[in-house]
């Protein structure tokens, strides 16, 4: 069956621009997670959705970051006024229910020039 997919796989943008990263979870998975991973580091938790609502957004670094999941399936991570420090791989994962096994997507590599 289809796994978690993320688009785009790579995104290069200029400092100050707005970007949207998309995650398509496994069908039927109620929990969806966003992480950010820098080179040589473990995934850093950003936000977690249970259904349509953000159950925990404590990992979002500042108010430039926002995520939505309007219909309880696809999620979009939005970053405003990007900075060079936002460059990282953004990972999405879904699970049937928390805190179960997380199924990860391949990630989106974001580069801010």
């Amino acid at each position: 069956g289809a796994g978690v997919s993320q688009t785009p796989s790579n995104k290069v943008t200029e400092k100050g621009k707005y970007v949207e990263l998309r995650c398509d979870p496994i069908s039927g998975h109620t929990a969806l997670y966003w992480y950010r991973q820098s080179l040589g580091q473990g995934p850093e938790f950003l936000i977690y959705f249970q259904g349509t609502g953000a159950a925990d957004d404590s990992g979002l670094p500042n108010d430039r970051f926002f995520a939505v999941r309007p219909e309880g399936s696809v999620s979009t991570l939005k970053i405003q006024r990007t900075e060079r420090g936002d460059s990282a791989v953004y990972l999405c994962a879904s699970s049937l229910e928390p805190p179960g096994v997380q199924n990860f997507g391949p990630g989106t590599r974001l580069t801010v020039l």
């Binding site: 978690v4 929990a31 997670y33 580091q41 995934p43 805190p99 997380q102 990860f104 391949p106």
Partner: protein, 109 residues
């Protein structure tokens, strides 16, 4: 939620040898998971051990859990070059999973 700390940070072994990685955490958990990440790719779930279990096997993987010491270990037996990857433990208490910095394993052919 809490973060696991893996030890060692890096490990290099010869193909065929066993590799042991350790994980420590600080508070009570529902379960503990181990994940693998090949360079440049997403994480892959390896094994989940519940708090009432002490040992679990899956193929060449053996995981132990000692809740009294708040620690877990992952043993990979008869390692292969394809096992070269980063390994992360994820102690899970309620909802979200927090990853530590991981152990980077290199298996030399």
């Amino acid at each position: 939620s809490q973060q696991g700390e893996e030890d060692p940070q890096a490990l290099s072994i010869q193909e065929g040898e066993n590799a042991t990685m350790n994980c420590s955490y600080k508070t009570s958990i529902n379960n503990l998971q181990w994940y693998r990440q090949n360079s440049g790719r997403g994480l892959v779930h390896l094994i989940l051990i519940r708090s009432n279990e002490r040992e679990k096997h899956s193929g060449r993987l053996r995981v132990t859990l000692d809740t009294s010491k708040k620690s877990s270990s992952l043993l990979i037996t008869a390692s292969r070059a394809a096992d070269t990857a980063s390994y992360f433990c994820a102690p899970t208490s309620y909802d979200k999973v927090i990853f530590g910095p991981g152990t980077s394993l290199s298996v030399i052919p």
